[in-house]
């Protein structure tokens, strides 16, 4: 996973997340949209043969003065707590 910031202003962030596909990007986008101070979150990905930008680009717009980079970090942490809780619930059921 390699990150490259394309645009970074006070309330907007565009970042390339190289090496990821829909599997992770959609989970990340979905989690970002659940955050209170995230107004918009989306990612764009082009097919392999398109000849252009094929790595996914994540764009976040925040509200209420929140820092988009911090929101991204919080979303990653949120995914981790989700996976931990889900694994626990699954292990309980499987035991």
């Amino acid at each position: 996973m390699e990150l490259r910031v394309i645009e970074n202003t006070e309330d907007e962030l565009s970042i390339e997340i190289a090496g990821e596909d829909h599997t992770f990007m959609n989970v990340l986008k979905g989690t970002l949209l659940e955050a209170e101070n995230v107004g918009a979150a989306t990612y764009d990905m082009n097919p392999e043969q398109s000849g252009g930008q094929t790595e996914p680009i994540l764009t976040i717009k925040t509200e209420n003065g929140a820092d988009p980079l911090e929101e991204l970090e919080a979303a990653a942490a949120e995914i981790r707590s989700k996976t931990a809780a889900l694994t626990d619930a699954f292990d309980d059921a499987a035991a």
Binding site: L3, T23, F24, E73, S81, T83
Partner: protein
């Protein structure tokens, strides 16, 4: 979102299972599904050294067939670069089966004994040595641990009144699992047709939010429980990597 997950098994066998997961978002459910198919690594034969092949097929064709034989993959024992050597030596007249493959590692065995590799006639012989490597379904379908992985919304069924006595009844087909009050019922029990279960009543059917019934079948390289846990782990690993990269 609240993190109240709840998992309940509806069907559970060695290689296939149906289970309900409550509390996940559609995005998360799909992430897990995709990870189960493409991101959980399994062992498969990737390189074959032929010592003798006097069968009717080319080396490459036999190598392809060997690659498709599922191999049991114990968790956390192997890394991406590890190689497990296997061998096969069968003389005709006989059929070479996946069960004839001899592994150098006790933990790694063909998950299926009865996959025919090739029929050998009198005087034909197949002797080879093969290397199995660990990789993901993204790389090649032979490394796909989840053979059939999908999910459906759990559906809530409520009776809303009586059906007209002389009305024509059309079948109401639903496939999956329905919820009646607090009880879960597999639609197989009533041949997937709600009019069999509620012959005289009108019913309303709606999706239960954030409740998904996963149907998972593996190729035998690992159990369903293992596959699911490792798919969630792979999402977690990527989130951890992102968290680290951003915080720097």
């Amino acid at each position: 979102m609240d993190e109240e997950y709840d998992v309940e098994f509806i069907e559970r066998e060695e290689r296939s299972a149906k289970f309900l997961v409550r509390g996940v978002t559609p995005a998360f459910a799909n992430g897990i599904r995709r990870a189960m198919i493409a991101d959980v690594p399994t062992l498969a034969i990737d390189e074959v050294r032929f010592i003798e092949n006097s069968s009717v097929m080319f080396d490459e064709q036999i190598a392809l067939r060997l690659g498709l034989v599922p191999l049991s993959t114990p968790p956390n024992e192997f890394d991406e670069d590890d190689v497990v050597t296997l061998s096969l030596d069968v003389s005709g007249p006989a059929t070479a089966y996946s069960g004839d493959i001899v592994s150098s590692d006790e933990m790694v065995q063909p998950a299926e004994e009865n996959v025919p590799i090739i029929d050998l006639k009198d005087g034909q012989r197949l002797e080879l040595e093969a290397d199995a490597v660990l990789s993901t379904g993204k790389d090649h379908a032979k490394h796909q641990g989840g053979v059939s992985v999908g999910y459906r919304h759990l559906q809530r069924v409520e009776t809303v009144g009586d059906r007209g006595e002389f009305e024509d009844v059309d079948p109401e087909i639903y496939r999956g699992v329905i919820q009646e009050g607090d009880e879960l019922v597999d639609t197989e029990e009533f041949d997937h047709d709600l009019t069999n279960r509620y012959p005289d009543q009108e019913v309303a059917v709606e999706d239960v939010e954030h409740a998904f019934v996963f149907s998972v079948e593996t190729d035998g390289s690992m159990s369903v429980e293992e596959l699911f846990t490792r798919a969630v782990e792979s999402l977690d690993a990527r989130a951890a990597e992102l968290e680290d990269a951003v915080s720097l």
